[in-house]
Amino acid sequence: MFKILQKTFSSGIATVPYPDAAPVLSENFRGAPDFDFENWLDARPAAAVCPTGAIAVEDREGHRRVTVDYGLCVFCGQCADATPEGAVRVTREFELATEDRRSLVLRADYSLTAEGRHERLLKEPTSAAAETTGQKLGASIRKVLGRALAIRQVDAGSCNGCELEIGALNNPVHDIERFGIHFVASPRHADLLLVTGPVTRNMELALQKTYAATPDPKLVVAVGACGIGGGIFGTNYATRGAVDAVIPVDVYIPGCPPRPEALLHGLLLAVGRIAAR
């Protein structure tokens, strides 16, 4: 007993005070890529190497539409490596969670040269976000849920990568309970479902039943590239893809998997304890 106490005291405080202080990130951490659309000479090499199709190129009549979907991004950094002109840069940004799925999608239109490279950016790239981001839940409900949030995690088909990082929220370093947020064993005890994907055909019904078993008012947070958009698996004979193809989703947390701080950011956003960017 004495040894246990001694070890614990000598270890000191392990908890990282994120989000009040900056997160502990390695210099080499790969976060979201940043695109210099103005100086991007050709999006095709980046699109060709993107594992999940997060970067897509559509050519029509001498014009090109480049779509970048952060919801599908796995932060692999291949797009930056494939773009010699330096127009794609890996950043350490990870606070990408949003209530609006469409805000994760950027579109840029280019005119093309004879070789199929970009001639000129036709207009500033825009996200497809809705003009008026309607609050899906009333502020009062968020306030009630946000003070002591009970989360039921649902793996609806994930590779288990997201579960590892969600599990890490419970360790002393991230210690999610300091926010009054805790994971519960039953959807009947939950205010929020934290769902990973892609939703498989075999988990579709279980996810629907879990959603139905969760008392109102409730929130649903979709985690990771697979939960947001099916990820590398997409939709196939065995998967339905995105979580929001099966149940309504309130907040999306990109990543593959999202690091614990990104999950925390998304959860605090979902209950209105921090503001959307």
Partner: protein, 526 residues
């Protein structure tokens, strides 16, 4: 496997054992003339003391009018694998089952039935395993089955369980959504009072069409799919996949990359084993030990991030080597962290071992007897705690494992305590390998120059992931794509071990027994 053995087999089984299709120091592939491999299996497994490692199928109907079944063997002390290819006529899709004699192939043969519609004749339990009972009559790995088509809504019973009858016997259904932050699967317990009489498992809830998807993606993208087979083994599965491609295309991986892969494979083992040691302590109420394990694991994940940009070692391995080299600072951080982690880990072990009540809960709990483990073909941590002395790193060296010495811990008692002890021993060995490899890290290129992957090549690759033996087998196709990628996660073999190990234990001990195996659902279900 020596050529003598092949000659011997040909002499003994004329008309069955055909020509050598391909050979390399890593593997020899022999064609059979009939689907009935039973005499060869009997000879190899009893007379020659070989182990049947895997059984899987391939659809070659469009090209050769045939399906093939592949049987992979290994023998202790021989670094190469021996593969047999048995032809199965498309108009007679059936092969004689081995499952009655070799329970280890039970699920694998049923997977072939489900995925390919090839009947395992004489299988003692031929029910579906990979497709749930409510799926229509489809065989997704047949080439004429479209990957992207949506199947109609499912109807009917999802699972049919064997009834367990008797006075005071209850059946307890659990899952697929479990109480913790873990993957989905369905467990049906039959209990009489507290002790578990019988456990029936239904897996494949996270089936994502992964093997079929490998046939659709270009190889450079498929590496990322391999990393998503089982998220806690991203680097091991990624490496197994890249090794299979490298073996198929005869790509020489530079030494620097092989040493870096060794380091990253061991880092994956260390962070997972530490998490399991903590979680097992947690499951018997030793919360403080889990907190310290969680802290140490976080240190290792930060090291992963500093070395690869990803806490879970993603996007690092590539065909031909690794994606980026390490700076002097990164190498120093690696060496420093290994030293610190060694000290912290010994503190953690001392903490866990200081608790008699923890030992009391773990000892003699969830016993998997050595003879059962051998019959079921149990691999990895669960096998080594039950006397199964297998480790791909030692038996079929890959990456740079031939450069480092390490011990493979084996115990006979097969209880939860021994599975914890195997992990503790392995972390110590891993830290030793890490230290040696960090000092040994040579200069030079970290990736072979990119080259086209020739079509029509087949190759096997094995990696000792932290759970156990991971196999990938590929057949390359035109345009840098694959015609088939077979994945075998160690969990496929090991789930039936759980069924055996829980019998007679109280249901309250199920979580800790399950955690002591810590099998991958996604790796099983794919």
């Amino acid at each position: 496997m020596t050529m003598n053995l092949i000659d011997e087999l040909r002499e003994k089984f004329p008309g069955l054992v055909g020509p050598v299709v391909s050979e390399s120091p890593r593997e020899v592939l022999i064609a059979l003339e009939s689907p009935d491999i039973r005499p060869v299996v009997d000879y190899l497994c009893t007379g020659y003391e070989s182990r049947l490692v895997a059984v899987f199928a391939e659809d070659r109907v469009a090209f050769e009018g045939l399906f093939y079944n592949y049987y992979v063997f290994e023998k202790r002390g021989e670094p190469g694998y021996l593969l047999f290819r048995a032809p199965i006529r498309a108009d007679q899709p059936a092969f004689p089952s081995l499952a009655a004699e070799l329970p280890a192939v039970n699920w694998q043969e049923r997977e072939i039935q489900d995925w390919f519609g090839i009947e395992a004749v004489g299988h003692p339990n031929p029910r579906r395993v990979a497709l749930h009972d409510n799926w229509p009559e489809v065989h997704p790995l047949r080439k004429d089955f479209p990957l992207r088509d949506a199947l109609p809504p499912f109807e009917g019973e999802r699972h049919v369980y064997r009834p367990t009858l008797g006075e005071g016997v209850f059946q307890i259904p659990v899952g697929p959504v479990h109480a913790g932050i873990i993957e989905p699967g369905h467990f049906n317990f039959a209990v009489a009072g507290e002790p578990i009489l019988y456990l029936q498992l239904r897996m494949f809830y996270t089936h994502k069409g992964t093997e079929k998807l490998f046939e659709d993606l270009p190889i450079h993208r498929a590496v990322f799919l391999a990393e998503s087979i089982s998220g806690d083994s991203a680097f091991s599965h990624g490496t197994a996949f890249c090794q299979a491609i490298e073996n198929a295309a005869a790509i020489e991986v530079p030494l620097r990359a092989r040493v870096m892969r060794t380091i990253l494979l061991e880092l994956e083992r260390v962070y997972n084993h530490i998490a399991d040691i903590g979680a097992i302590a947690m499951d018997v109420g030793f919360v403080v030990a889990n907190a310290h394990a969680g802290r140490l694991r976080e240190t290792m994940l930060r090291l992963n991030e500093a070395l690869t940009g990803s806490r879970l070692l993603r996007s690092m391995v590539s065909v031909g080597g690794v994606r980026r080299g390490w700076s002097m600072e990164q190498r120093e951080l690696l060496s420093r962290t290994i030293v610190d982690a060694t000290e912290e880990f010994e503190d953690l072990v001392a903490l866990v071992r200081s608790s008699d009540s923890t030992r009391d809960r773990l000892e003699k709990t969830g016993v998997l007897r050595p003879e059962t483990a051998k019959a079921l073909g149990i691999v990895g941590v669960g096998g080594r705690a039950s006397g199964v002395d297998l480790d791909v790193r030692r038996d079929h060296p890959y990456a740079a494992y031939d450069r480092y010495s390490f011990r493979v811990p084996v115990y006979q008692d097969g209880d939860v305590l021994r599975r914890v002890t195997v992990r503790i021993d392995e972390v110590r060995e891993s830290l030793g390998i890490l230290q040696a490899a960090a000092d040994d890290l040579p200069d030079g290129p970290w990736c072979a120059p990119p080259q086209p992957i020739p079509a029509g090549r087949c190759a096997l690759a094995a990696v000792e992931g932290w759970r156990g033996e991971i196999l990938h087998w590929v057949r390359t196709g035109p345009d840098g794509r694959l015609e088939r990628c077979k994945i075998k996660d160690p969990s496929v073999n090991n789930w039936p071990a759980l069924v055996e190990a829980v019998q007679g234990n109280i249901i309250a001990d199920f979580p800790v027994i399950n955690k002591s195996f810590n099998l991958s659902y996604s790796g099983t279900d794919r």
